[in-house]
């Protein structure tokens, strides 16, 4: 981005006093000076941290004692594949934690599979509605976007009130459900909360995508005699594909890392029904009296791998038919 005047062919031999080169180099230097503050932060707080966490994932570490090399034992304990094998009543206790394989992973996958499609479809519908020439649509847009700019902790606390046994949700629908304290409902309550908070942002992204579609295409379609539904099916949705890819990817990553709502509302309970992978990492690293920093670090990398795999899969699915530009 700094090379603005280098279209002329360079000299055959590089010479120290070549003004062209010197200018280029000084421009590059300026660029690096500009980048320096960010690079410094990036290397200390991102690259170094990831590298150190990777090292820790092969150690046994409880913060009080120096880390001790453990090889793959941490990963073995996280995955705890023995827990899935049939075991006798009085079998010796397993030296591993089956919370990830039995609770956190199924919970997180379930959460993602429900929340991502729901929020994508819902925000798409909202975007369509907001794209029409409705009265007060600016007001509506603001209202729908409001939850996204509110702190997730605040919204979580509001939801705790709304969904308490004597709360407004039970009153309006005349129900008698103990939403957050019943293992059957607690997780769904958090899903509702998440769909509610993220739909606004996603709606905005879809709206931008919708308004990006050239009107000429719609006009051509109407000349060809396409009806409203056909336009939607064959023009709008295919044209929105890169936006859908973006929205689904962001949603996927967000869902796999869901943490703060759970931390505030249920702390993983009741009966682990809302324990997700991200919460489990936190619990192992800081909540337990036997701090399991190494095990938590190992799980972080497993989670990163899972997110990568899911993103690749959905990229395959969305790209499947027809080509997509860069998302």
């Amino acid at each position: 981005m700094t090379q603005t005047v280098s279209n002329r062919p360079a000299g055959l031999f590089w010479r120290k006093d070549n003004p062209e080169k010197r200018k280029k180099r000084s421009e590059a230097l300026t660029a690096y000076i500009f980048l320096l503050p960010y690079l410094f932060i990036f290397f200390t707080f991102t690259i170094f941290s990831i590298g150190y966490a990777f090292y820790l994932s092969f150690t046994r570490y409880n913060l009080l004692r120096p880390p001790e090399w453990w090889g793959l034992e941490g990963y073995r304990r996280v995955l705890c594949l023995e827990a899935l094998m049939p075991r006798g009543e009085d079998a010796p206790p397993l030296a591993c934690d089956d919370l990830f394989i039995k609770k956190a992973l199924p919970n997180t996958v379930k959460y993602t599979l429900i929340v991502v499609p729901t929020q994508t479809v819902l925000s798409l519908i909202l975007a369509f509605a907001m794209d029409q020439k409705l009265r007060f649509r600016r007001l509506f847009r603001t209202i729908y976007y409001l939850p996204s700019v509110t702190s997730s902790v605040v919204i979580s606390l509001i939801f705790v009130w709304l969904f308490s046994p004597l709360g407004i949700v039970n009153q309006i629908f005349n129900l008698n459900i103990n939403w957050l304290n019943d293992p059957r409902y607690a997780f769904y309550t958090i899903m509702i909360l998440n769909v509610f908070t993220t739909s606004g942002t996603l709606m905005l992204i879809f709206l931008a995508g919708l308004q990006d579609i050239p009107t000429a295409i719609y006009e051509a379609a109407s000349i060809d005699g396409a009806n409203k539904f056909q336009t939607l099916r064959f023009i709008t949705i295919p044209m929105l594909r890169p936006v859908v890819f973006f929205v689904v990817t962001v949603g996927l990553i967000g869902c796999f890392q869901v943490f703060d709502q759970i931390y505030v509302m249920t702390s993983g309970g009741p009966l682990d029904s809302t324990t997700t992978v991200a919460y489990l990492i936190y619990k192992w690293a800081f909540r337990d009296t036997t701090v399991k920093m190494g095990q938590a670090a190992a799980l972080s990398f497993i989670l990163a791998l899972i997110i990568l795999v899911f993103t690749l899969i959905q990229r395959r699915i969305i790209e499947g038919s027809g080509s997509v530009g860069s998302a």
Binding site: N62, L64, R77, P165, P183, P270, T289, T290
Partner: protein
């Protein structure tokens, strides 16, 4: 143009650096940093006054900040200390937010304070990993005697005959009862001599499920349920914490008695009436009796000043008295450069004079035996009942290295009984198996 650029670039870099720093800090640590700098400034001012900066020993003291009033009280005691001990500088660095997370990370990076709060629940891990300094020699030098403290408290902070901490304050559980509801039901108020049968009979008479009024709060709380196991002659863990006794007959019987209150609708958990903590439910008059600690007294005074209540020691079970002790001590880090000065600070903070101050403010109960006859306890029967609890078969709230796992499993076992109608013995057996797994993991 070029000269302009020459100035512009470093300026931009500087402003970027400044701007970039902001989002990196989370609000909580920022606060802590602020306090530290303030203290440092104070120190500078003081050193100017004394003019002998080199000879003053610095002791950093850290603890959680429970409330502004409590922090102010501690600071006033520390001020008295500095006046009496001009050669020691105490830097008080309260930790807001997650205390254990911050303390453990500061230990990991070798910057922990000299003196810090230690909850009995976390104590075993800190002793095993040799974070704490044995203080018997220092105590002898400073003239602190073990016998001056309530035995169950000082013993809790000792291991293998070595003392690691001086208890700062404590709490036990008492049976809080609502006098108005007792009068309404027309039954006699509880006394210290009550038994399980009296408790059950009273709960039956007091309950009115149609109006959301229940006799006894029986939360799925590992900080309440164990006293029933103790009163039934059982225990949660073996003496050396190498195994759990949660699936023993004594514990199963106790759990059956405990959970039957809810089953028979003469007791309930706070969530049944839409609350998170039974203290609030008690204040609202929906639970006639709850087992809670001294912390409920100031809470009721503030939130529900009209509650007419009394406190007695927990009713005895078939095998006698049983209670839990929640206690916190001052400990010294092994890395402390001034252990002797640190001990003097601790001695001052736990002295009769300082503890009397804390006691009168109503924040916590004193750990010195000599204070059991204090004026305050004579005139405050509620606090007195909590204090007496420590002397009647009470055991510290500690389950060894896997403490949080034991707590979690105990809570879940009760939840399974309450929410999924699992059989009591099966549920406790399941919990015990997970705890054994956790013990195997630590080895």
């Amino acid at each position: 143009m070029k000269t302009l650029l020459k100035w512009f670039v470093p300026l931009m870099v500087l402003s970027l650096l400044l701007a970039a720093c902001q989002p990196a800090a989370t609000p909580t640590p920022e606060k802590v940093i602020e306090t530290v700098t303030v203290e440092k400034e104070k120190e500078v001012v003081k050193t100017v006054e004394v003019e002998k900066p080199a000879e003053r020993a610095v002791v950093r003291l850290s603890g959680w900040a429970a409330s502004p009033e409590e922090t102010a009280l501690l600071q006033s005691i520390l001020l008295d200390f500095t006046v009496e001990n001009p050669d020691i500088v105490v830097k008080y660095e309260p930790i807001t937010g997650d205390y254990w997370q911050q303390l453990k990370t500061s230990i990991a990076s070798g910057v922990e304070p000299d003196v810090f709060y230690m909850d009995i629940f976390q104590f075993p891990a800190f002793v095993r990993d040799e974070v704490l300094l044995p203080i018997d020699d220092l105590m002898a030098k400073e003239g602190v005697k073990r016998d001056d403290f309530i035995p169950s408290l000082i013993d809790a902070f000792s291991e293998g005959g070595v003392t690691y901490g001086i208890p700062k304050d404590f709490n036990t559980l008492g049976l809080f009862y609502n006098k108005d509801l007792f009068a309404k039901a027309g039954i006699a108020e509880p006394t210290d001599d009550w038994t399980w049968d009296d408790l059950k009979a009273a709960a039956e008479a007091l309950s009115d499920p149609a109006n959301n009024i229940y006799g006894l709060g029986v939360p799925a709380d590992p900080g309440r349920f164990p006293i029933f196991v103790f009163q039934n002659g059982g225990s949660i863990m073996t003496e050396d914490y190498s195994d759990t006794l949660l699936d023993s007959p004594a514990a199963v019987e106790a759990a059956t008695f405990y959970t039957d209150f809810r089953k028979n609708q003469i007791g309930a958990i706070p969530a049944d009436v839409g609350e998170g903590w039974q203290g609030t439910v008690f204040g609202k008059g929906q639970f006639a009796m709850v087992y809670e600690g001294g912390w409920l007294i100031p809470y009721l005074k503030q939130q529900f000043p009209n509650t007419n209540y009394g406190v007695v020691t927990p009713p005895a079970g078939p095998k006698g008295e049983g209670n839990l002790i929640f206690t916190v001590a001052y400990v010294i880090s092994r890395n402390s450069k001034n252990p002797e000065a640190a001990m003097r600070v601790i001695n001052y903070l736990t002295s009769e004079k300082a503890q009397n101050k804390v006691l009168e403010s109503g924040f916590a109960l004193p750990t010195r035996l000599s204070l059991q006859n204090s004026e305050f306890l004579k005139t405050n029967p509620a606090s007195s009942a909590i204090f007496r609890g420590a002397l009647q078969g009470a055991r510290p709230f500690v389950w060894g290295l896997v403490g949080s796992d034991v707590n979690e499993q105990m809570g879940k076992a009760l939840e399974r009984i309450y929410l999924e109608n699992q059989a009591v013995d099966a549920s406790l057996k399941q919990a015990a198996q997970v705890i054994r797994q956790k013990i195997a993991e630590v080895k």
